[in-house]
């Protein structure tokens, strides 16, 4: 059975754990038999789904049967019984407010905690599905001065490979892209690992056919060879056994296939083709050569920390002989694919576990108020059970079971949501990565995470259920109940009150950003929707390195050839029947940010205005016409503007609004800041102003843009925009065919409609808006629930007092004032605390206008007080219904 046609192992393990041994074996056998049958009839995916359904059905049926056996035998082996759990379920229905508020809070906490635990595992030390994968490491070089990673490491790699004793083997790779051409088939762009042969030894996976890359393949001048992945072998070669020895064309190079790797092998990241990284035998000067990534397998018995010490020593030697290049460089030896620098540090453990514990504690504190209030209203029942002989342990177990039911349901919802969110989020995160999703990432929750969350759920249930139960069954409480004739003795002390005030304050703080982000998200979507982005197809164009020129060509000759290739491609595309316009830019409207520090000359006699983030775009001929952007003032670019010495730019209306109060900016100047605060670049003259496109919404309506004239050869990345009268995605195949006819080295990547690209740019904003609004709504709900709990307990405790006051002639208004005063003090304290913190933010953030700030403070106060009053309605109504006579009789 292959990986996709194998029954789900997790479901099998579940059966083996949950069912008696003999039965489990037979059941697994039966399900395997059914799986094979359903695979053939329904396909592997549905067969796996049905396997899971049957497995869960078995676990459920046998669990129920076990409980029935227990009840039939009248044996209570544990303090908690099935009846307690059933009662817990009924309690959820009886207190729907608590069930929804508490369940949601716990679900969010458990879901967030599980997702974080899962992600932090992948971030620090992912589990590599390779033999002894824990010994594979990555060696990086940090440049603290430059603030990034230095990847031009061919010199360092050769030094480490020659001298380091901590590693069994070292390897290096870089990712390249080439068109794969097979016979007359259309070229297909492929992401290829150009790697040392040691990659296959380090991964420890033998090929399925032929051989892996060999050290001899790394010598320059040896015939080009390639190892292909299982997927390409199956898809492009129909799984033929004689594929080894055949030739394929990679770009313009004819290459021989020497091996096929087995299914699932995509080392180093997500690669499906491997060609040798050819290294000069004479070596490399420090920081010479292309950027690479270095990986290694630790020698048996060597730790990551020991390897790190050796690499540091070797780098120090290089720094001594080559201080100019290596003085600031700091090597790191990290778990492969992760950030863990070695033995598990306290910090790593804290980062993995602390947020989860904190989130769970916050949720438990919240839900605790609700459970506490519910326990208070049931004190009479608890006392009665105690009097009838139920032990304290038995009552505590019952209340624990009730919390466990609530926490379990919340955990199921939270884990399901976290699983779905991780799948969508992780897939979306890697969808834009050039190498795709790494082979060690499996989106969705891992089994260990689910088990971890299960433990947390039980701990959470114990915190929620046991504490109020112990308090309610304490000797002092029981004595008081007897003395007070069954009236409630529990009260909200200082801890609970502080928790509720803090919660109200936190919710108050979150309201303004939630409103701000959600209105901004809505506004941005509305502005974007006005632009017909669905009529445009965006394509990133690349030419294979070296393929466009002979080795002795000058840079100008290479550029001329690139320009000619693009021109020919553009001419052919423009001739297509449905195409209305073709143009290019380094990024199209709505494709994300490219900002530069700049100075704008707002008036000839004033010093220029410094701008930390001016949006820029290099655009080709016909750009403004293709996007229907009218020239409002001045002129469009002409061919003369594209000459190297030309210093002209065009700006948009938003630019004029921001820097010139809407006046005409033509004739004014802009210049960019020099690197590291050095001399500014030459002034550029504004020769035209265009209408806003409407795809980069900001507070000004559109981002202030500066457009530069560009030629195709000088534009990186080179993104072509094709406006069509038909569905743009349908044009993609035709574009690929034209590109292959123009030049086999011309690759088309990332072909998508502009609409889809804009949506992808918007997704983080939409997700954050939904998340923060969700958090605020939950916060409001929990605050209301907390105040409701407090009021319920207060009314229950003061039944007799309220009745007596009513009998003595107190009016409803006076009674209500007495009841509501505490809730108002509590809500008011929270609102004041929240507003004080907000005020602090506003004071240190000069960009916030006073009117906006006052509006935000007023809004949060009104919303919170309204929520507080709404929460009081139920308990207040209950208090007013207390009959004076009944209260007097009780007294």
């Amino acid at each position: 059975m292959t990986g996709t046609t194998r029954p789900p192992a997790l479901a099998r393990r579940l059966i083996e754990r949950a069912l008696p041994a003999g039965v489990a074996e037979a059941v697994v056998g039966d399900l395997n038999e059914l799986f094979a049958r359903e695979c053939a009839a329904l396909g592997a995916r549905r067969a796996r789904q049905r396997y899971w359904r049957q497995a869960l059905s078995f676990v459920w049926h046998f669990a129920m049967e076990g409980w029935r056996d227990q009840r039939r035998g009248d044996v209570m082996r544990i303090g908690m019984s099935w009846l307690d759990l059933k009662l817990g379920l009924r309690m959820l229905g009886k207190y729907p407010g608590l069930s929804i508020a508490g369940g949601l809070a716990l679900a969010v906490a458990i879901g967030l905690g599980a997702a974080w635990y899962d992600l932090s595992g992948d971030i620090f030390r992912p589990t590599l599905p390779l033999p002894a994968g824990e010994r594979i490491v990555e060696i990086e070089m940090r440049d603290p001065v430059g603030g990034g990673d230095e990847r031009r490491l061919l010199h360092d790699f050769t030094v480490w490979r020659e001298h380091a004793r901590s590693f069994e083997d070292l390897g290096a790779y870089r990712t390249i892209e080439r068109n794969l051409v097979l016979g007359d088939a259309r070229p297909e762009p492929m992401t290829i690992a150009e790697t040392t042969a040691s990659a296959f030894r380090i991964a420890g996976v033998p090929p399925a056919l032929g051989r892996p890359l060999a050290d001899a393949d790394e010598r320059p001048g040896t015939p080009p060879v390639v190892v292909i992945g299982h997927g390409i072998w199956q898809r492009q070669f129909g799984g033929r056994a004689d594929v080894v020895g055949q030739t394929v064309q990679l770009g313009r190079t004819v290459t021989t296939i020497v091996g096929v790797m087995p299914e699932g092998f995509t080392f180093p990241v997500n690669h499906r083709m491997w060609v040798p990284l050819q290294l000069r035998p004479s070596g490399y000067a420090p920081l010479e050569g292309p950027p690479i990534r270095v990986f290694a397998r630790l020698a048996e018995g060597t730790t990551q920390v020991q390897a790190y010490a050796e690499v540091v020593a070797l780098t120090a030697r290089t720094a001594a002989t080559s201080p100019r290049t290596h003085e600031h460089l700091r090597p790191r030896v990290l778990a492969y694919g992760g950030e863990s620098p070695g033995d598990r540090s306290v910090l790593e453990l804290a980062v993995t576990h602390l947020p989860i514990v904190l989130v769970l504690l916050v949720a438990c504190a919240n839900v605790g108020t609700l459970v506490y209030a519910r326990t208070a209203t049931r004190e009479g029942e608890i006392a009665l059970r105690h009097a009838l002989g139920a032990s304290r342990g038995r009552i505590v177990a019952q209340l624990f079971a009730e919390s466990l039911v609530l926490a379990t349901l919340a955990a199921i919802v939270g884990l399901a949501a976290a699983n779905a969110a991780l799948k969508v989020g992780v897939t979306a995160y890697y969808s834009g990565a050039p190498e795709g999703m790494p082979f060690w990432i499996d989106p969705g929750l891992k089994l260990t995470t689910v088990l971890y969350a299960t433990v947390l759920t039980v701990v959470g249930a114990a915190l929620l259920g046991v504490f109020p139960a112990l308090k309610a069954t304490g000797r002092r409480s029981q004595a008081q109940i007897r003395n007070m004739g069954g009236q409630s003795t529990l009260r909200f002390g200082g801890v609970w009150t502080t928790v509720m005030i803090a919660q109200v304050a936190l919710t108050v703080i979150c309201i303004p950003p939630a409103l701000g982000i959600s209105t901004e998200a809505l506004r941005d979507r509305q502005i974007r929707d006005a632009f017909p982005a669905e009529e445009y197809l965006a394509v990133r164009l690349e030419l294979d390195e070296g393929a466009a020129a002979a080795p002795d060509d000058t840079r100008d000759a290479v550029n001329r050839r690139l320009e000619a290739t693009y021109r020919e491609f553009e001419r052919r595309v423009a001739q297509e029947p449905a195409v209305r316009a073709v143009t290019f830019a380094d990024r199209l409207p709505g494709m994300g940010v490219a900002v530069r520090r700049a100075e704008v000359e707002t008036a000839p006699d004033l010093p220029p205005v410094f701008v930390p983030n001016l949006w820029t775009s290099a655009v080709g001929p016909g750009f403004f016409q293709a996007f229907d952007v009218a020239i409002l003032s001045g002129r469009d670019f002409h061919d003369g503007d594209r000459a190297a010495e030309s210093r002209t730019v065009v700006v948009n209306e938003a630019f004029a609004r921001r820097f010139f109060g809407g006046a005409n900016p033509v004739g004014r100047r802009v210049r960019y800041a020099g690197g590291d605060g050095g001399t500014p670049q030459p002034w550029l003259e504004v020769v035209g102003m265009v209408r806003d496109v409407g795809m980069t919404p900001t507070d000004l309506g559109e981002a202030p843009y500066v457009f530069h004239p560009a030629s195709a050869a000088a534009t990186r990345p080179l993104v072509m925009a094709v406006r069509t009268e038909t569905d743009p995605e349908a044009l993609a195949a035709r574009l690929r065919a034209i590109a292959a006819e123009v030049d086999l080295g011309l690759r088309l990547d990332d072909i998508r409609s502009l609409d889809a690209i804009a949506w992808q740019v918007d997704v983080p904003m939409v997700v954050s808006a939904v998340a923060i609004v969700g958090i605020v709504v939950l916060g409001l709900f929990l605050s209301a629930a907390g105040i409701f709990s407090l009021m319920s307990v207060s009314v229950a405790r003061r039944t007799r007092e309220i009745g007596l006051r009513a009998a003595l002639g107190a009016t409803a208004t006076r009674l209500l004032a007495g009841i509501l005063s505490r809730a108002l003090v509590l809500t008011g304290s929270g609102v004041l605390a929240g507003n004080a913190i907000l005020g602090l933010f506003i004071a240190i953030e000069p960009e916030i206008a006073l009117a906006d700030a006052l509006g935000a403070l007023l809004l949060t106060s009104v919303v919170m007080l309204a929520v507080g009053l709404l929460a009081c309605l139920g308990p207040a109504r209950r208090a007013l219904r207390i009959a004076p006579l009944d209260a007097l009789k009780e007294a």
């Binding site: 039965v23 074996e25 039966d30 038999e33 049957q54 059905s57």
Partner: protein, 110 residues
């Protein structure tokens, strides 16, 4: 009458085993009931019924050899015991007794 009465589903399981003869086990029992009754049957329900029937002494079970098509897992084979057959007969007698003489009445009810 037997100490243990048979439920409707238990009767179906026993009858399916008798139809299948030697070597009846989970999957064919499920198939047999589905084929003869047209009902969808959960394999888990069949296993639970077999467990109860074995506790009552109406079926006996043994593990067969493991087979590669089942992922190397053995089958839980079952057969109906003498007590099981007797119990089925009793169930049938009881039902037949209840049905007897009802045909004219049923014909009058639309």
């Amino acid at each position: 009458m037997s100490r243990h009465a048979l439920g409707e589903f238990e009767q179906m399981v026993l009858l399916a085993i008798l139809h299948l003869g030697d070597g009846a086990y989970g999957v064919p029992i499920v198939d047999e009931i589905q084929r003869r009754t047209g009902r969808t049957v959960a394999p888990a329900a069949v296993y639970i019924a077999l467990r109860r029937l074995e506790q009552k002494g109406f079926v006996s079970s043994w593990m067969s050899e493991s087979t590669p098509e089942r992922g190397g897992k053995a089958r839980l084979c079952v057969k109906v015991t003498r007590a099981g057959v007797e119990s089925l007969r009793e169930a049938r007698r009881a039902l037949d007794g209840m049905w007897k003489g009802l045909d004219p009445t049923l014909r009058t009810i639309r």
